[in-house]
């Protein structure tokens, strides 16, 4: 390779001076002997979901740095191949294919969108590769679209909806409403929530769906107000979530209606400021979890990132990396078949506590958390505070299902 100046994206984190992947597509996969452990991360680093992709990147890079400093996994360094998909499934499939065919990658994590994950998952068998999700919440991935080489380390959409529902069972509400984004995730979570509310004999008044990219939420806010509900469940994310929270605050909606949301993350809190105060929601990861491993992680993170706090998908990616490492150590290698078997049986003490993949659909059983956004001393923005936890057995859906039986 020539010594042209290069931007360092295909980050080789191994300090061992492993060969940098050749930039030329006309080269073939390099043999991977006892060298580095390659993990492919085709993520949406740019585009509307760039925030999530960048969190994944930071989480994974920091994990690799810390673990490589300790000698890697089984004495082998972790090498991350991070590529930008801009949130487009066509790019994602192409980049993932390149990682497999040119770089001999056998392990993936960090795909950003569910549509990307759903496009990649059917190819895992052909690629003989394992994919451990740290982000993808679409219930189908561990149900209708389940494949044996897919593992979900993160909390899924239905699990978030379930946590909110369990929380509401105990709460005094006279009527509930639901607003979801008009795509698979929104419909799935709202459905779980509706079933749960009906089972708990709560007054489920109605639901409405908004297309992604909605700029004006006033009609939705009006509908929520007109419904007379005193609690509203939100399945929104990213810019849509921020727009809704800002606008509902301007309408004074939170004074009348308790807003419950499926994901509470710091990026969104920062974007809407005080409009997030009082928001209650399920949380996939928060720096405020009271667990010794988490405290250790947060301290390490803040030291590295100038006092910055790890956000939802930084934590979730960290946990996914922990799962990958535990699997490789149990399998004593990275061969796909033994690794899959190992992942099915390992129990991991992660930053969220004990987690374990179920054998039947590879969903990681883990605690569910409910948080409330509050002002706290020592933080310049509002922060989430844990107000309830639920054991994993109660938040995880039926096997290969997106619904709950009790």
């Amino acid at each position: 390779m020539t010594s042209k100046p290069r931007f360092t994206r295909r980050a080789v984190l191994a300090g061992s001076g492993a060969a940098v992947a050749s930039p030329y597509i006309w080269t073939s996969a390099q043999a991977q002997a006892g060298s580095a452990i390659k993990i492919g991360i085709p993520a949406a680093l740019t585009g509307p979901l760039g925030t999530v992709g960048q969190q994944t990147k930071r989480g994974a890079e920091f994990y690799a740095k810390v673990q490589n400093a300790k000698g890697g996994i089984l004495g082998r360094k972790i090498e991350l191949l991070i590529e930008d998909t801009a949130g487009n499934p066509a790019n994602c499939v192409r980049k993932a294919q390149e990682m497999v065919e040119r770089h001999g990658v056998k392990m993936f994590t960090g795909l950003t969108l569910s549509s990307e994950a759903l496009a990649v998952v059917p190819k895992l068998a052909e690629w003989d590769a394992i994919f451990v999700s740290g982000i993808n919440g679409d219930g189908r991935l561990t149900a209708d679209s389940f494949v044996p080489n897919f593992f979900r380390a993160n909390i899924s959409g239905p699990m978030g909806a379930r946590a909110v529902s369990l929380y509401l069972r105990e709460a005094k509400v006279s009527g509930v409403y639901a607003l979801g984004l008009d795509y698979a995730w929104g419909h799935n979570s709202v459905q779980v929530f509706e079933d749960e509310m009906k089972r708990a004999n709560k007054n489920f008044i109605g639901k409405i769906f908004a297309p992604t990219g909605t700029k004006d939420y006033s009609t939705y806010i009006t509908k929520i107000r007109q419904s007379g509900a005193d609690a509203c469940y939100l399945v929104l994310q990213g810019d849509d979530n921020n727009a809704f929270l800002s606008q509902s605050r301007q309408y004074g909606l939170p004074d009348k209606v308790t807003l419950l949301t499926e994901i509470v993350d710091l990026a969104s809190i920062k974007a809407v400021g005080d409009a997030s105060l009082g928001l209650v929601g399920s949380s996939r990861y928060s720096f405020s979890y009271d667990h010794p491993k988490n405290k250790e992680f947060v301290e390490l993170w803040r030291k590295e990132h100038g006092g910055g706090l790890p956000d939802t998908f930084e934590g979730e990616t960290w946990q996914a990396m922990q799962a990958i490492q535990a699997g490789i150590e149990a399998a004593k290698g990275t061969d796909t078949a033994p690794l899959r078997k190992a992942l099915e049986s390992v129990e991991i003490e992660s930053i969220k506590g004990k987690i374990k993949f179920r054998e039947c659909d590879h969903q990681a059983v883990q605690q569910g958390f409910m948080v409330k956004v509050v002002k706290k001393d020592g933080f310049d923005t509002p922060v989430p505070e844990v107000i309830a936890t639920f054991p994993g057995e109660r938040t995880t859906p039926g096997c290969k299902k997106t619904s709950y039986d009790n």
Partner: protein
């Protein structure tokens, strides 16, 4: 033989020989280039030969992809039939689209094509039972057959199939634009009123060219679904309509071969740049601005300029010796 013919045949020979020498991912990328090239070329029939600028050509790609994806998942028809059938279906739908869009001209025409593409996008989103909604169709197989032929299920076999579709479509399109029909299209491009005055029903010609362009675009989409294994709403998103238009222009419109090169250039540049730097879109944008300023005729213009000089030099040399 002219230089361009010699080079053309040489390139074709190289493309046919490619699977012998290229590694796995290069073949993956080459197959995608062939499909995207076909898509861009189909748009050139409208943009380059008839000056019908479509902002919604993605409709053809998406329709083809969903149709072939749905048939491959839900029927037992062999792959080549499915692909051809999907292309024909796209062409038939396009007759209606063309009929409405050609009520307007200029930018209004462009916006009507966009409207149809966006309506299809909304339908794909909502008609979950057929399209899979926002999740799309995944795990689309490359089925064996007809008569148990398994060639197309392999990577190399599928590449040859896609290449055959591209070369076949190219030859058909070239025949088309060289025919009297093509002459009328060029007449519409240069001066529609005059063509109309000469007694041609220009609207019928425009509807026809829309249908044909959509059919070839649908063919590309129908190939993409089994190639990538999925079809989802992203294949109907307006941004791709803009991108394919850029491919046509950057390659050189009204040349058929230029847009194929444009598509290859676009995809390779995006793919490689985005591996080097997260800020790839910045350089990507600058490249297009640079192209407009310094290479107004596009890639094909640059290449043929070079050949023309070659031909002229050869002639000069010939005359010198003669």
């Amino acid at each position: 033989m002219r230089w361009s013919t010699v080079v053309g045949l040489a390139v074709l020979a190289l493309l046919i020989a490619a699977p012998l020498g290229l590694p796995a991912f290069a073949m993956t990328l080459l197959t995608e280039l062939v499909i995207l090239g076909l898509f861009a070329m189909s748009l050139d029939l409208m943009v380059g030969y008839t000056r019908l600028i479509s902002f919604g050509h993605v409709a053809a790609y998406g329709l083809g992809a969903y149709a072939s994806g749905f048939m491959l998942l839900n029927s037992s028809m062999p792959l080549p039939f499915v692909v051809i059938l999907a292309a024909l279906m796209t062409g038939i739908v396009a007759i209606g689209v063309g009929w409405v869009c050609t009520l307007a001209t200029g930018v209004s025409f462009s916006m009507l094509t966009l409207a149809f593409a966006q309506l299809l996008y909304a339908i794909a989103f909502k008609w979950t039972s057929v399209t899979g909604g926002s999740d799309g169709l995944a795990g689309i197989p490359r089925r064996a057959g007809p008569m148990g032929i398994t060639l197309l299920t392999t990577k190399t076999g599928f590449y040859y199939f896609a290449l055959a579709c591209l070369v076949g479509s190219f030859l058909l399109c070239r025949k088309l634009v060289a025919s009297p029909f093509g002459a009328v299209l060029r007449g519409i491009r240069e001066n529609e009123a005059k063509t109309l005055a000469l007694g041609y029903n220009t609207r019928l010609y425009k509807i026809a060219v829309v249908a044909i362009a959509y059919a070839f675009g649908g063919l590309a989409g129908a190939l993409y679904a089994p190639f990538a294994g999925f079809a989802n709403t992203e294949l109907l998103f307006w941004l791709l309509s803009g991108q394919v238009l850029i491919m046509v222009i950057v390659g050189g419109s009204g040349t058929l071969i230029g847009p194929i090169l444009g598509a290859a250039f676009f995809l390779l540049l995006e793919h490689q740049l985005s591996s080097y730097t997260e800020a790839w879109a910045l350089f990507f944008g600058l490249v297009f601005i640079g192209f407009i300023l310094f290479a107004p005729e596009g890639i094909w213009g640059l290449a043929t300029g070079w050949f023309k000089r070659g031909d002229a030099a050869a002639k000069a040399k010939g005359s010198l010796h003669g």
